[in-house]
């Protein structure tokens, strides 16, 4: 089997700390409508809908695909809801890709969203559980110690995280959908921002956003008919490992390495730094750029920070990471993974506007979640695989 599958439409909302002008359905619908417009399709052209988001507790709506069926044109169609923690946006795209590749559907609408302003991310992510000592430090309290572990292991100097924080926010200035537009961003501004979870400063962490992203996937026949260039899917992979087990490498998890190896093998990528033109990688805390550079095999273990420091991952570097501004600039959690996948597609479609990487023909979309234990990735390209 295996039909070819391509991204033929992409849409995003403007991400903001609070989209008070829309309902939950209105938010998701906005991105979905834009994706359909991009593909010059209407609701009736879509065969199935797959939606993803992180915990239902953000909005207090259980299994929101039920309430959202009308808004996404799903009535009378198959609709699925994926939830794989922070990697969910990526997994959602992969589940939908499977539907096209298996020849079950020709055109699938994929949407992911989070309306975090309905509650509060800190609360929703750390709801206290019976019998557990209360978590008193939020998500950063989990990840910052791992960052310290990385710094110790790699010998990375302290300023590397700040370089990423500045780079991604500068990139975001070219992206009209980005939540954060910090026009004066520089090393000094990051350094002077409050040290939240030492070694992590406030400006080295992601914002909390309302936002949605949608893509339309099509089979080969569909891709031949759409007005704009499709992004062909060259490889897809998911991997999971348990949160905690003896001997687990939490800094450089095996599931991420295996997932990358799998997706690159499928796409014929042997040296990701050389073979890819850019990457959209889930970096919610600045230091996760050097950490994931190593995990994904863009360099040898211990060298990630050197790649960042050399400017290789900057917009004008040889392997730009997060030209859109990344998760550090917009983070509607459930959508963030799909945004990475969509932004990778936009690059190889030549549709990335002011943050288009010149001549980008192959790109990685990456998402992770849980305690760095769920991974979803795809490689997209301008050429038919």
């Amino acid at each position: 089997m295996s039909e070819r599958c391509a991204v033929v439409g992409v849409g995003q909302t403007k991400h903001k700390s609070a989209r008070t002008d829309v309902s939950i359905a209105g938010l998701v619908r906005e991105a979905a409508r834009k994706a359909l417009d991009d593909a010059e399709m209407d609701w009736s052209d879509v065969d199935a809908v797959v939606i993803g988001k992180a915990p239902d507790m953000f909005e207090g709506v259980v299994m929101p695909e039920l309430y959202l069926a009308d808004a996404l044109g799903a009535v009378g169609k198959p609709m699925m809801r994926v939830h794989t923690a922070g990697s969910v946006g990526g997994s959602t795209a992969l589940v939908a890709t499977g539907l096209v590749q298996a020849g079950i559907h020709e055109r699938v609408l994929v949407a992911a969203f989070e309306k975090q302003s309905e509650s509060d991310a800190m609360w929703a992510l750390t709801v206290s559980q019976p019998f557990s000592a209360p978590l008193v430090a939020g998500a950063g309290g989990y990840f910052a110690p791992l960052i310290r572990g990385y710094m110790r292991r790699s010998g990375a100097p302290d300023h590397i995280g700040m370089l990423v924080a500045v780079k991604d926010r500068k990139n975001a200035l070219r992206n009209p959908n980005a939540h954060l537009h910090l026009h004066d961003i520089d090393m000094k501004m990051v350094e002077e921002s409050p040290m939240l979870w030492e070694p992590l400063r406030y400006l080295e962490t992601c914002p909390s956003s309302d936002g949605a992203c949608a893509i339309v996937l099509g089979n080969e026949a569909t891709a031949a008919k759409v007005p704009r260039r499709p992004a062909w899917i060259h490889g897809t992979a998911m991997r999971s490992e348990p949160t905690m087990f003896a001997g687990r490498d939490q800094v450089n998890p095996q599931a991420g390495k295996d997932c990358a190896a799998d997706v690159f093998r499928q796409a014929g990528v042997t040296d990701p730094r050389r073979d890819l033109d850019c990457a959209e990688v889930y970096v919610p805390f600045s230091w996760y750029e050097p950490m994931w550079l190593e995990n994904l095999g863009f360099c040898a273990d211990g060298d990630g920070w050197k790649l960042t420091e050399s400017g290789a991952t900057a917009f004008d570097g040889d392997i730009p990471w997060n030209p859109s501004g990344g998760v550090l600039s917009s983070n509607p959690i459930g959508a963030s993974g799909l945004i990475r996948f969509a932004e990778a597609a936009q690059q190889v479609r030549g549709e990335a506007g002011d943050y288009q990487v010149d001549g980008a023909r192959r790109a990685l979309g990456h998402a992770y979640g849980g305690g760095s234990q769920f991974f979803a990735m795809w490689v997209v390209g301008s050429d038919k695989p």
Binding site: D21, V136, G141, L146, R148, R153, E198, M244, F245, A246
Partner: protein
């Protein structure tokens, strides 16, 4: 109707917002394995569980070895001292339950355990906490003990020399 407490949101203009108070109550069972562990904690004991396949000792135990998908029934009593493998210094009070800032959140690898616990480090300035620091549990007064790891208020330095990086680097 508690759901109606919204006068402050909309004033006289078009209605754009609403409050949705949602309260759900649960009675959660800890499960057999966790109950055993917590009963130990209520007596000031830290009982790890050993995987019958790989012999690794889980602390806190979760009743199964996630690598092998088998129950971990054998208990191993561990000392209430260990090594800080890694940590962060928290400078913002994220919740009412948090101690005064700055405070230190650490992963503590008990001697004899193969997984680390999350805990607070106190009894020394936050700035002086370091990887490899040797610590021991500071328990709450016995009369306050419940079935919760919160019985350990925090971890304090033992004064021993720091552990060698090689001794704990594979546990991060």
């Amino acid at each position: 109707m508690s759901g109606r407490a919204i006068e402050d949101l909309n004033e006289d203009g078009p209605v754009t917002k609403m409050h949705a108070p949602i309260r759900l109550e649960y009675r959660i069972g800890a499960g057999t394995a966790q109950s055993r562990f917590l009963r130990g904690v209520a007596e000031g004991k830290l009982l790890g569980q050993k995987c019958p396949v790989c012999s690794k000792v889980y602390m806190p135990p979760r009743g199964s070895c996630p690598i092998h998908g088998v129950p971990t029934e054998e208990e191993v009593e561990l000392p209430d001292r260990g090594t800080v493998t890694t940590f962060c210094v928290v400078n913002i009070p994220f919740s009412d339950l948090a101690p005064e800032v700055p405070y230190v959140c650490a992963q503590v690898l008990l001697d004899g355990a193969d997984t680390a616990l999350f805990g607070l480090i106190a009894g020394m300035p936050a700035r002086e906490v370091r990887m490899g620091l040797r610590v021991r549990a500071e328990w709450a007064p016995r009369e306050e003990w419940t079935y919760n790891l919160g019985n350990i208020k925090w971890w304090e330095p033992t004064g021993e020399p720091d552990a060698d990086y090689d001794a704990y680097k594979d546990y991060i």
